[in-house]
């Protein structure tokens, strides 16, 4: 029987699922979007603050400038604070709904294929069929196409295993 280069068995915990969701959100968000939103946020805050201090208008006008400052802060902090917080809540809810169907998984890396085995799913993907392997902050994502992926929490992998996976697709 062929011996895998790497074999690891793990169970996805709620925290793993939350980390994966946040990492995936980061992965699919284009960097340009983050930069554009930050620049727009800074502009809105600066215009709002400058107008609030310098332009003497009525109460109605002052409220408009305060609203502009609030929108600016919202835009500025969207990708760093608001979006991860929403994703965290959605992922926790999703895990609670589906936790009965989440079983332990075993992943094996062979010379020419990756195998994933769980109670409800078995995958045997030839290495040439892998779309991408992406190592994020807390998760290793093995993509089979642009949106579907298997994931391994980084906590179950040692440093040497992680290095192996990072270099797997280039070998």
């Amino acid at each position: 029987m062929e011996k895998p280069f790497l074999e690891e068995s793990f169970l996805i915990t709620k925290q793993d699922h939350i980390n994966m969701s946040i990492d995936y959100r980061r992965y699919i968000t284009p960097k340009e979007n983050i930069i554009i939103l930050r620049v727009l946020g800074i502009i809105a805050v600066c215009i709002g603050a400058a107008a609030f201090i310098n332009i003497k208008g009525g109460v109605y006008q002052s409220i408009c400038w305060i609203v502009l400052i609030v929108i600016g802060f919202y835009t500025l902090s969207y990708y760093d604070v608001i979006s991860p917080s929403i994703t965290r809540k959605q992922a926790a809810h999703f895990y609670d709904v589906y936790k009965g169907s989440i079983h332990s998984k075993t992943v094996r890396f062979f010379d020419n294929r990756v195998e994933l085995t769980s109670e409800e799913r078995k995958l045997r993907i030839p290495k040439k069929y892998l779309y991408k392997i992406y190592v994020s902050k807390d998760t290793v994502m093995i993509f089979t196409d642009i949106s579907e992926f298997l994931f391994i929490p980084k906590r179950v992998l040692s440093e040497s295993q992680l290095t192996f996976i990072e270099g797997y697709s280039e070998k």
Partner: protein, 191 residues
């Protein structure tokens, strides 16, 4: 207890999905659980905003110089209505095509087995077993059955083009009976 009553095999068939089937299924998935979810409500909010801005403009005798904000609100609202009602579904369909093209597994033929409380499919590379209780939606269109759900929120498509009428009827009746809350029949927008 006899097997047929407990959890008998309802149907067994080979199936293969094409690009058009998958992109259409992905559009349906996006409408039910993706970014296009509730798009009519979101578009309605912007429509009401546009009406409100139009009303303000009417009060000012359409003097755009005096009320530039109202014109901007109308323009943004019109764009958002178009975005939700027209652009998003188109974008979802294109994303479906992109996913299909980027995957080497989706186009592979599969052997399906449909049981009373679950279905499974198998091919050279993949085996999946999914209980109906894990599914969030089962949509039947003119061209396919779209099964959405599970821990990976996967879209499983059964194309009708490769099935005979007898099997289609059997599946339609079975899914509508076993997935009462999740089953919908939708008209396909294939052009």
């Amino acid at each position: 207890m006899p097997e047929s009553i407990y959890n008998g095999l309802i149907a067994e068939f080979d199936n293969e999905i094409k690009l058009r089937d998958y992109s259409e299924a992905y559009r349906i998935y996006d409408l039910r659980c993706g970014l296009s979810m509730g798009r009519e409500w979101k578009a309605s909010v912007f429509f009401v905003l546009a009406l409100g801005a139009l009303f303000v403009m009417m009060m000012e005798n359409f003097d755009l110089g005096r009320i530039p904000t109202a014109s901007i609100v109308i323009l943004i609202s019109m764009y958002m209505c178009t975005h939700y009602l027209y652009l998003l579904p188109k974008k979802a369909k294109l994303k479906g095509e992109h996913i299909y093209r980027s995957s080497r597994l989706l186009s592979k033929p599969k052997h399906f087995k449909i049981y009373r409380d679950h279905f499974m499919f198998r091919n050279e590379y993949e085996y999946l077993k999914r209980y109906y209780t894990e599914l969030s939606d089962c949509i039947e269109t003119d061209n396919s059955f779209v099964l959405i759900g599970g821990t990976d929120h996967r879209v499983t498509v059964i194309s009708k083009s490769l099935l005979n009428d007898n099997v289609i009827e059997k599946l339609s009746e079975h899914f509508s009976r076993e997935m009462i809350g999740q089953y919908r029949r939708a008209k396909s927008k294939r052009k």
